[in-house]
Symmetry: C2
């Protein structure tokens, strides 16, 4: 996951944006999510921190850009709940599959998931990068008292799909048409989101 | 995952059983499940293949013994379906948790899952060892036409629980009491097992 571009400080050349992204990739890979700062990335790229902010915004944005994430969960997930929680289970699976079913789009996601499962660290890019960004908008859409456990039950089924459909590519699940999977898994998520508490 | 015991051929000493297990562990780790044969394990341990069969039975049995699996899915899973498919979802979660919630028991399982997710090989111990042994009794308990996809949907939720509750230990899911999890996830598995097709 280390950058393809130059490694020296102040490397020169006009591709400042690319230099910043390469530095960010190195930092996220080497130091984790929490260990990465905009300031350190700027120093490594030989630019002013303000320039990093200017190009990429906050650290979350830099993370998504550096790892070439195909989608921004902070933007997409709230749209699932805009029409209400009703039907959100199916919409959530459909959104999830629209990203993950694209082999090119899921490449960086697979890399982060694989690394995150091996590292077991609190600060893995999987936890602090992906999962945090996915869980926050879900949590915000649910009533407070048991939002946390409902969200994690949803996450447990989604993570299970990531493993079985994409990483392990178990058949027939890997080849199941998206809409069939929406019909199977949608009601599961719906019950986790707003079903009666046990 | 390589054995703690001696590495030489025909090492002598009375612990023939231990030598066989050490050879088996090395072979499963180095050559995968399909690449391991009773004969090669016997040669490596300096004993007759008949002795391996005598001590451990078939390759599946040797696998479970070598990796110190806490439970035999071929024996336990059919008991879930003995009273019928009705209620099997809850019984399945309860059985699953009774094994995985024991930190000592899940140790070898976690090792195999972690390795299996990194390797991505068809022949990983995760696929050919655990998943095959889990899926077969489930498949046998369900009507044929769509048993495969029903079983894999079940597996997708179970694998997701393994990841989130044990490998990532996401809170509050990791600390959720077993019976609460049975109540949440049991109906999911039940619908996958015998719910109407979408």
């Amino acid at each position: 996951m280390s950058g393809a571009r130059g490694r020296g400080r102040r490397p020169g050349g006009p591709d400042t944006r690319g230099q910043i992204l390469a530095s960010a990739r190195r930092s996220f890979a080497d130091k984790g999510f929490g260990g990465t700062t905009i300031r350190a990335v700027a120093v490594d790229a030989g630019v002013d921190p303000a320039l990093v902010h200017h190009y990429f915004g906050a650290k979350d944005d830099l993370f998504l850009a550096a790892l070439e994430f195909p989608a921004d969960p902070r933007v997409l997930l709230p749209t699932v709940f805009e029409p209400g929680v009703d039907g959100a289970g199916e919409r959530l699976v459909r959104l999830f599959l629209s990203v993950w079913d694209d082999p090119h789009a899921r490449l960086p996601l697979v890399a982060v998931v694989r690394t995150g499962l091996v590292q077991e660290a609190e600060d893995s890019l999987l936890r602090q990068g992906i999962l945090r960004m996915v869980q926050r908008p879900l949590r915000a859409a649910l009533p407070a008292p048991d939002a946390d456990r409902r969200v994690q039950l949803v996450v447990s089924q989604m993570v299970g799909l990531v493993m079985t459909r994409y990483l392990l590519a178990l058949e027939p699940l890997a080849s199941m048409p998206a809409e069939e999977l929406v019909a199977w898994v949608g009601p599961t998520l719906q019950r986790y989101l707003d079903g009666p508490l046990p």
